[in-house]
Subunit: 305 residues, 2 copies
């Protein structure tokens, strides 16, 4: 079943302890879309400048990602540059040039509007709400946000996530949004804000999923080498929602049982872990569904008792 | 099957965001012994001063812990005082008065020497080695250590852990000992030092177990309130080794399969989580095996997919 993915498409300059790349395809929608494309049809909504390379468009198209909603306008594509600390747990932003992304006003092509699944990458909450309003009969809405919107656009954000089924954020964002330090309490406070399910991403420490009556925990996959963690959280989201779309899961019909949702968390973790194995989204150039399913089985082997 | 536990028996002064207690029973051997006592017969080896309270002795004895090896000498019992940060992930030591513990030279009562299981709490590596030498036909040796011994007694520590079956340490200690940041590599380097199995404790993030051919991961139990984390790592060790002793596990006979060892990690996590629910070791005054097994089942429910 089709999934609409909305968010940034960008170029990134990255420096990790393993190397440096001046300019590589990036952006939340790119990572979400690539990860989800291993599970379901993806329809991308984003904006790029006239510097967006044909080979990057081809890379996305080769993964069968529908690019009708990727608007191209005069100007430069969003550019972000950052450098990671030695342990990769921190990164410092050196450059954020919004460029054409500053005027992003997502418009869904006609053929996108009846898609049943919607994943809203981290953008201005009002824009996220506007996208959802353009959909007809969306079955399942998931979204991400960040500290900037939580801090300075709180009311707008609360009005937006109220209608979401899934909120996927990291632990510091969950604490900031809920004003609770303890993650179990934080999750309960966020569930009171509307979402059916909260997924808290903890990077190398794994992920937690909370619903009103249950929760699910998974440790992080242990890579021998974390090459570049850029995009791992977005790939988690892409694997998570992609799996739910693949399995035609539907909250309103009560079709998401505990096993489906737990497996979606595992597939999210799997996609996040693969993302870290190469610079930017490069791992997805060669990744196969067989490798993905193999790592899913590894997760079972490493956590079953 | 009997388990000999060696280490500090102390009084602690504790301050957490939830309160303050001037003097409460503590010490690694106390926590290990209490946690293990829910699984197996425990024989304690430690030293206390003449200020050691009859009620604390009774508390241990009521948990059927054999105290023949708890030497009492003139002077004061080891005293430690610390204060926790708001998020409980850091603590600052205010007082460390070794007192009679400074001259601890563990001597095993005759009746302890044929016990099949040995858990060496964090003490000087040469003392740990001396204890093991007093045992006859010990089936399984596990031990803990800390940054101080890793840094300043490295050779002595390496000569000691070479003979251990299990090394249980936290993540920063594993990195310091192995000189590797990545935990998978760190564990492999430590396995090369001798131990059959390395367990890396990560506090609220759970635990990892590594053997030559496999590893096992468990996320941390999500408490609604961490009251006082003092002793949680030692309780993990007590639950872990206690479970193996209860099930008569024997590495030399090849009796520890993947399931046994994984369940030992879960029981370790269970005991660590209970420890945090009250000040010091107070939770163990009322805890029941039924509650322990209930939380074990919860772990399954929260992690199975």
């Amino acid at each position: 079943m089709s999934l609409v993915v909305v968010g940034s498409v960008a170029y990134d300059g990255l420096e990790t302890p393993h190397g440096k790349v001046d300019r590589i395809l990036g952006g939340a929608a790119t990572y979400i879309g690539l990860a989800a494309s291993f599970f379901t049809d993806v329809k991308l909504v984003g904006i790029v400048g006239d510097d967006f390379a044909a080979e990057d468009r081809e890379f996305l198209a080769k993964r069968s990602i529908d690019l009708e909603g990727l608007e191209q306008v005069p100007g430069k594509t969003f550019f972000w540059q950052g450098v990671y600390s030695a342990d990769m747990n921190d990164r410092t932003t050196l450059v954020t040039d919004l460029n054409v992304f500053a005027d992003f006003d997502p418009k869904l092509p006609e053929g996108y509007r009846s898609a049943p699944y919607l994943m809203l990458g981290n953008i201005q909450p009002a824009l996220q709400r506007g996208v959802r309003a353009q959909m007809n009969g969306v079955k399942l809405t998931a979204g991400d946000t960040m500290n900037y919107w939580i801090k300075d656009y709180r009311d707008e954000l609360l009005a937006t996530i109220r209608d979401w089924d899934f909120l996927l954020i990291n632990d510091s964002e969950a604490r900031m949004l809920s004003r609770e330090y303890n993650l179990r309490r934080a999750a309960n406070a966020i569930l009171d804000m509307g979402p059916n399910t909260v997924v808290i991403k903890r990077g190398e420490y794994g992920a937690l999923l909370f619903r009103r009556d249950s929760h699910f925990m998974v440790p992080g996959y242990l890579l021998e080498e974390v090459f570049d963690p850029t995009g791992a959280g977005d790939c988690f989201a892409g694997g998570f929602i992609g799996y739910l779309a693949e399995h035609n899961c539907d909250l309103k019909q009560g079709h998401i049982d505990r096993v489906d949702i737990a497996r979606a968390v595992i597939y999210g973790s799997v996609m996040g872990s693969f993302c870290c194995e190469k610079f930017g989204p490069d791992r997805f150039r060669t990744l196969t569904r067989e490798e993905i399913d193999g790592r899913f089985r590894e997760f079972r082997e490493f956590t079953e008792f």
